[in-house]
């Protein structure tokens, strides 16, 4: 079992990772629209510890925390996001296209497209006859894509070991969830695909861990697919550069006040598992480590232009 203190540790790393990414935007080291998940750390950290290397995880455009939760090398991720040849994909992917085949981790910039991919992973477990679990993380916007429906239906028919974790941050860019979804929650739709469905407070890392862990366990035991909906809020614009005028200042400040890191820190303090100073110190330590990682990544080279034509096809042997 992962403790709250450990989960808090994940959250701190996740937050600092995102803050490090932000540094690359004004400097144009990252020359595309960066999506951070600041405010959604309790979900990423809630997932941590349940997945084995042979479990798979597919993620989205807002994927950094999921990579960290899956155990993907953070430096390699950061280097990919900073467009370095030392990156997870040698700089060919960019921040929306992270692949770690050893950990069965992948992402896509196409909303909803990861869910069928995860069903493929789940089908592989079925074909092998082992107990690997496939996890797909998507945003609330993805649940209205055709891909989501086709994938979940297939998983439901075959009772596949699939967990779909929906990060419901209430917005898909400027479109609020209630104007996009016919139902007030995602979880209540689960029975349409013979899935188990549950909804949790995604700012509460232990609530997420409980729900996610139970779903993974169910899938592993052959209990079939689940949808875990975790409510949350993204603290920044959809991408860096988004004027974010579609959300009221009132809403934003009210929701930012519910910082999952603070919530977890408070719980640790309340339970006597850490003092405020210790919390600060932990954050400071990670901040320093992250700054070092960032500095080191920044010193790396961009991929060599002459390599740009590689990897379209496999080299002819």
């Amino acid at each position: 079992m992962t403790t709250l203190s450990e989960r808090f540790g994940y959250m701190v790393w996740m937050r600092e990772f995102e803050l490090a990414c932000l540094e690359g935007v004004p400097t144009r080291e990252i020359h595309s629209e960066l999506h951070t998940a600041i405010g959604q750390e309790a979900i990423g950290a809630g997932m941590a510890g349940f997945l084995r290397a042979d479990d798979s995880l597919s993620s989205t455009h807002r994927n950094h925390l999921h990579g960290i939760a899956k155990g993907v090398n953070m430096r390699a991720m950061l280097a990919e996001i900073f467009e370095k040849e030392t990156g997870l994909c040698g700089g060919f992917g960019g921040h929306m296209h992270l692949f770690d085949p050893g950990l069965k981790f992948s992402t896509t910039g196409i909303v909803g497209a990861g869910v069928p991919v995860s069903v493929g992973h789940a089908l592989a477990a079925r074909a092998r006859g082992d107990d690997a679990v496939a996890v797909a993380v998507v945003g609330d916007g993805a649940v209205n894509t055709g891909a989501f429906h086709e994938a979940l239906n297939f998983a439901g028919v075959h009772r596949l070991p699939l967990v779909v974790l929906v990060e419901n941050n209430e917005w898909a860019i400027s479109v609020p969830f209630e104007k996009a979804s016919a139902t007030p929650t995602v979880a209540e739709r689960a029975s349409a695909w013979a899935c188990f469905g549950t909804r949790v407070d995604g700012t509460d890392v232990e609530a997420v861990a409980d729900a996610f862990g139970a779903a993974v366990e169910r899938a592993r035991r052959g209990g079939g697919p689940s949808i875990v909906e975790a409510t949350c809020y993204r603290f920044r614009g959809h991408f860096e550069g988004d004027a974010d005028t579609y959300r009221s200042e009132q809403e934003k400040s009210a929701r930012r006040a519910l910082d999952p890191l603070d919530i977890a820190a408070r719980a640790l303090i309340d339970r006597g598992e850490a003092s405020a100073e210790q919390i600060d110190q932990r954050r400071q330590t990670v901040r320093t480590a992250m700054a070092e990682m960032l500095a080191s990544v920044r010193a790396d080279q961009q991929p060599l232009p002459e390599k740009a034509l590689n990897h379209v096809f496999r080299p002819v042997s």
Partner: protein, 331 residues
């Protein structure tokens, strides 16, 4: 010149005028309403025309395009937004099997006056957010395809697209949408009133005698700059902005090549099985004898993430200069 609008504003202005002119015009897509489009190209429409005519949708491109078909059959003239052209793969079926074919399959009884407004082009977002794909649409009969390069055309082609009784794929270039009129040496004078730029007509942006350079969308500006630059070296390039891919204005290009005898096609879309070969072939089929031709396009490779790699595969001013020099230097 006066109004220093950016291209998004030109598009929004065109849509506003069309919606005032014709109350059958509706705008439907993700973030087109309250947000006014992720690039601002539908700004002001929701306020002016309300929920019934400007519809924010879920992330459901098949629903968006399919609804367009039904609306068109009801006499509406939907403008459907697919945010990035890269996403067309989730809904191409409605586009090519219904929107493009219903007029034909119905023996002319049904019309599909639909605009699919989408953004293409490379701004550093990697393989899934950087494509142009006009070559893909152009291969599929029943679709007109336009891709403006400047503020004037952006407004006028949108008006023409909405006015068209045929379906039109209108591909904006993400790299141009926030450029202002003053950034342009051509097409920078945008009248306030309504006007159309005819679909299927290329424009000679710069006359020249040594080489015909045909291109469109985001590469017109760097091609023009390259031509200006090389003029000082005595290389006189005629730059043609194709503006439409379907119908392709072969006549204008052929006429130019009659004079220059050399043709360079610059294409930000993929090289093969696309615009460049079609244009070369059509000019030859028009009976024009070409001394030499060349194609400068994305060399059949997905758009890479890192800037260093991206620069290596996407045509830019310096690579265009190189391509011009190469063709002109041939015997």
């Amino acid at each position: 010149m006066g109004r220093n609008l950016n291209i998004s504003q030109c598009v929004a202005e065109a849509l506003t005028l069309e919606m005032h002119r014709d109350d059958r015009v509706m705008v439907i897509g993700e973030d087109v309403g309250r947000q006014g489009g992720v690039f601002g190209a539908t700004r002001g429409l929701h306020k002016a025309f309300g929920d019934l005519r400007v519809v924010d949708t879920p992330i459901s491109e098949t629903a968006i395009t399919g609804m367009g078909v039904g609306l068109a059959m009801e006499g509406y003239r939907p403008v459907l937004e697919i945010m990035f052209v890269d996403f067309i793969g989730v809904c191409l079926d409605q586009v090519y099997n219904a929107i493009a074919k219903n007029h034909y399959m119905s023996g002319g009884r049904v019309t599909m006056p639909i605009v699919i407004k989408t953004a293409g082009g490379c701004i550093g977002s990697g393989a899934q957010h950087s494509q142009c794909l006009w070559g893909l649409f152009a291969h599929l009969p029943g679709l007109k395809v336009v891709a403006p390069s400047n503020p004037y055309d952006a407004k006028g082609l949108m008006a023409a697209a909405v006015e068209s009784d045929d379906p039109v794929i209108y591909i904006e270039h993400k790299g141009l949408l926030l450029s202002r009129a003053d950034d342009f040496t051509f097409g920078n004078d945008v009248p306030e009133g309504r006007y159309t730029v005819p679909i299927g007509q290329a424009a000679v942006i710069r006359p020249g005698t040594h080489l015909t350079l045909a291109t469109l969308s985001g590469t017109v500006l760097p091609a023009f700059a390259a031509a200006e630059r090389l003029a000082s070296e005595g290389i006189d390039v005629e730059v043609i902005d194709l503006r439409s891919v379907v119908p392709l204005d072969v006549a204008t290009v052929a006429q130019s090549v009659e004079k220059t005898r050399r043709l360079l096609v610059v294409d930000e879309d993929y090289l093969s099985f696309g615009l460049s070969a079609e244009l070369v072939t059509r000019v030859l089929e028009a009976g024009v004898s070409i001394r030499s031709f060349s194609r400068h396009a994305v060399p059949d490779v997905p758009i890479p993430g890192a800037l260093s790699l991206e620069r290596a595969v996407v045509p830019n001013q310096s690579s265009i200069e190189g391509a011009i020099r190469e063709v002109v230097a041939r015997p």
